[in-house]
């Protein structure tokens, strides 16, 4: 606001002074011009009447000659004043219109509006820096989840279509360079309502600046950055606190999992699918010789994955990066068909068409099919509008960067615990995944479960009572009982128990430093404060977070434990305690102990 006001005042100084001077000259002249009153006496107009006459004359309203008919001397002066004042007004109004069209003024005005709107936001929002394909896809996905969006995009051309995009709540857009700290601040990254900052520009260096700037300005805000460059990746990993997503490596790692540990990938797909839908099938990619058409960032990530998965591969790329020239397994500068033949397409089991041109990828796929009809295809889709073409190619898997980014970002934002669990599963390899799959299979069959988090938050009235440990510790199994009927177990599997390090330490100290129970034996091996697939008999402490996978509606039932102490009492004792003070006085201790059953 300040900027705009000052700009207006500064730019309009000259026209305003011109107007003042024009009026002053005209008014003074009119008071000096000799006039005659109806009695024929000489008369001079006062300042008040002169100003009145000039006001309606200068604005071309023209009420006539008051208070008495003018003399010729007065008419002469008024004629002069009319031309003078019309020029003055034309100049002043011209300046106002020129100012309203001025790019600097418009930028300042829209920026002022943006800052005010961000300051007024009272609901959770995410700041997206960079409105490319991924930025757009993520903005639409978050909008569907009722998260407000603040977009910072440097390029006005790219930001323009946001206005006509179908958002439920229109995003707040600022055309500015998000690398600059004051821009980040204006975008509201330090406000408590800001859930996360997503650095999704096409430039890794810019993403690095945004991530570091955000971390420095407000360490509490979550930062997710897309980074493909290994140097930048290492920098940010060292800096800490930034959730890094490398789309190429993520995709390659998923393919690698399918080759090496399909159970882990299956578990991931199962838990991150659309709840209630049929569980996705595994890809079952074949082992053997792979051909990579295109050896850029994507091709290199795939090659590295194949190397560590123990598969043989050959790459071909007509315009290869200089540092890769002569690298093992990379052919250069061949026509497409010759290149594919050279890569042993005949005995290959799979082709990765991974250049950054959709038409080249489609041509390669067609060529490869002709040379080897049974080959499995992995194709990269670059432009959103080419989706139909890529689907028609009938590939086994399509790599769509914006889809992958959306998936990863949503997962990181909505269920960060799930990410930790899946990270554990990846590190642990097939063993943990197989156990988890078996558990999920026996509870849910072929459906994708709902995944949610339960917080043992002592600030909630229900939990405060249960965690006070008056009747012994709260056990995990008690959260798995239907609060409407204690005989019925709920359809839910606890996947991960997360315990704040300080909580674990203080609880441990409170127990007199005795060795942790055997339940946490697995915790020590898997990391100090995370238990994968926790035992139902695990005692819960204040601050614990549990990741559950379960049927529809279980989350809502479980939330009843938070709001009110009586459901948890009912579950624990099988007896619903009286809620009011009066009834608590009347319920005798004997009746209570009779109703209370020994807990299993």
């Amino acid at each position: 606001m300040g900027d705009v006001l000052y700009l207006i005042l500064r730019r309009l100084r000259a026209p305003l002074i011109t107007l003042i001077v024009v009026y002053a000259i005209s008014v003074v002249g009119l008071t000096l011009a000799p006039g005659i009153d109806p009695q024929g006496q000489p008369w001079r107009m006062g300042f008040f009447h002169a100003f009145y006459v000039m006001s309606y004359t200068a604005t071309t309203i023209g009420f006539g000659e008051i208070p008495y008919a003018f003399t010729d001397a007065q008419r002469l002066w008024v004629t002069f004043s009319i031309y003078l004042s019309v020029i003055g007004w034309a100049y002043a109004l011209g300046s106002v219109f020129a100012l309203s069209q001025d790019p600097t003024f418009r930028a300042a005005a829209s920026r002022g509006l943006f800052v005010r709107r961000v300051a007024r936001l009272r609901q959770p929002y995410c700041v997206i820096c960079g409105y490319g394909r991924s930025g757009r896809a993520i903005a639409l996905a978050l909008d569907a989840l009722d998260v407000r969006i603040v977009i910072v995009e440097q390029d006005a051309q790219r930001a323009a279509p946001i206005e006509i995009e179908e958002f439920r709540a229109p995003p707040l857009v600022l055309v500015a360079d998000a690398r600059r700290p004051e821009v980040l601040r204006e975008a509201g990254i330090a406000k408590p309502e800001c859930r996360a900052v997503l650095a999704l520009t096409g430039d890794d260096e810019a993403n690095q600046s945004i991530a570091i700037g955000t971390r420095v300005l407000d360490p509490a805000t979550m930062v997710i950055a897309r980074v493909a460059d290994p140097v930048v990746h290492d920098n940010l990993a060292d800096f800490g606190g930034v959730h890094l997503i490398n789309p190429f490596e993520t995709f390659a790692a998923n393919i690698g999992l399918d080759l090496v540990a399909p159970e882990v990938l299956q578990l991931e797909e199962w838990l991150t699918g659309v709840p209630g839908s049929l569980r996705p099938e595994t890809l079952k990619l074949p082992q053997g010789h792979w051909v990579l058409a295109g050896y850029g960032r994507f091709g290199r990530a795939m090659a590295q994955m194949l190397r560590s998965a123990g598969q043989s591969w050959q790459a071909v790329d007509p315009n290869i990066a200089p540092e890769d020239e002569g690298a093992e397994g990379v052919a250069i500068g061949k026509s497409a068909e010759q290149g594919l033949r050279e890569c042993d397409i005949g005995r290959a089991v799979a082709l990765v068409a991974g250049t950054d041109s959709d038409s080249v990828n489609l041509a390669t796929v067609t060529m490869a099919r002709r040379l080897n009809p049974g080959i499995r295809i992995i194709v990269r889709q670059n432009k959103a509008y080419n989706r139909a073409l890529i689907e028609a190619a009938g590939a086994t898997v399509a790599f769509v960067q914006s889809d992958l980014m959306t998936h990863e970002v949503l997962q990181a934002l909505t269920t960060p615990l799930l990410n930790r669990f899946l990270g554990q599963a990846r590190r642990d390899g097939a063993g943990l995944a197989r156990r988890a799959l078996a558990r999920l299979d026996e509870v849910f069959g072929k459906r994708v479960p709902w995944v949610w988090r339960f917080d043992c938050d002592p600030a909630q009235p229900g939990m405060r009572h249960a965690l006070s440990q008056a009747d012994g510790p709260l056990l995990l199994r008690e959260l798995l009982v239907d609060p409407r009927d204690p005989q019925v177990p709920m359809l839910a599997v606890p996947l991960l128990l997360w315990r704040a390090p300080t909580a674990a330490a203080s609880a441990h100290a409170a127990r007199g430093g005795a060795p942790l129970t055997d339940v946490f034996a697995s915790a020590t091996s898997a990391g100090a404060d995370e238990v994968v697939l926790p035992d139902p008999d695990t005692p819960l402490w204040a601050g614990d977070r549990i990741l559950f996978a379960g049927g529809e509606g279980v989350e809502a039932l479980q939330r009843r434990f938070l709001l009110d102490p009586s459901p948890i009492e009912l579950v624990r004792t099988g007896y619903e305690p009286p809620r009011s003070w009066l009834f608590r006085r009347f319920s005798s201790p004997t009746a209570r102990s009779a109703a209370a059953r020994p807990r299993p």
Binding site: Y6, R13, I17, V21, A24, G46, F47, F48
Partner: protein
Amino acid sequence: MNLEKVIFGFFTILACTLNFGFFVGDIDRPELHHPTELFATIVVNLIALVLKFGDRTHIGATHLATSLAACLQLGAAGLFWVWELHVRGIALDAGSTSTIVSLSGGALVANLISVTLLIGETLRQSR
């Protein structure tokens, strides 16, 4: 020499001197306070006000504030004059003249502050 500074200083000081010219003289004698001088004071004060627009420094903001105060006082004096002369239709007497002149006296104080700021700024520059 900076022309902008000259113009700025000229109008600031002229606003003050004209104001003083109108103010000086027995407060209750209408013949000692000429309406043209009040008009000139108002016009020059308005110009000084507009000249002070758009300066974001602290001293610039104070300059603007003194001019706003002066214009408010002078505008009130002018309106009161119009009211007495044309609306109530009576010639100025001792009471209404002293009201007008005392209002312009308030504006004079604001203008003096403005001139003091100008001098202070100049001294600080030369040091």
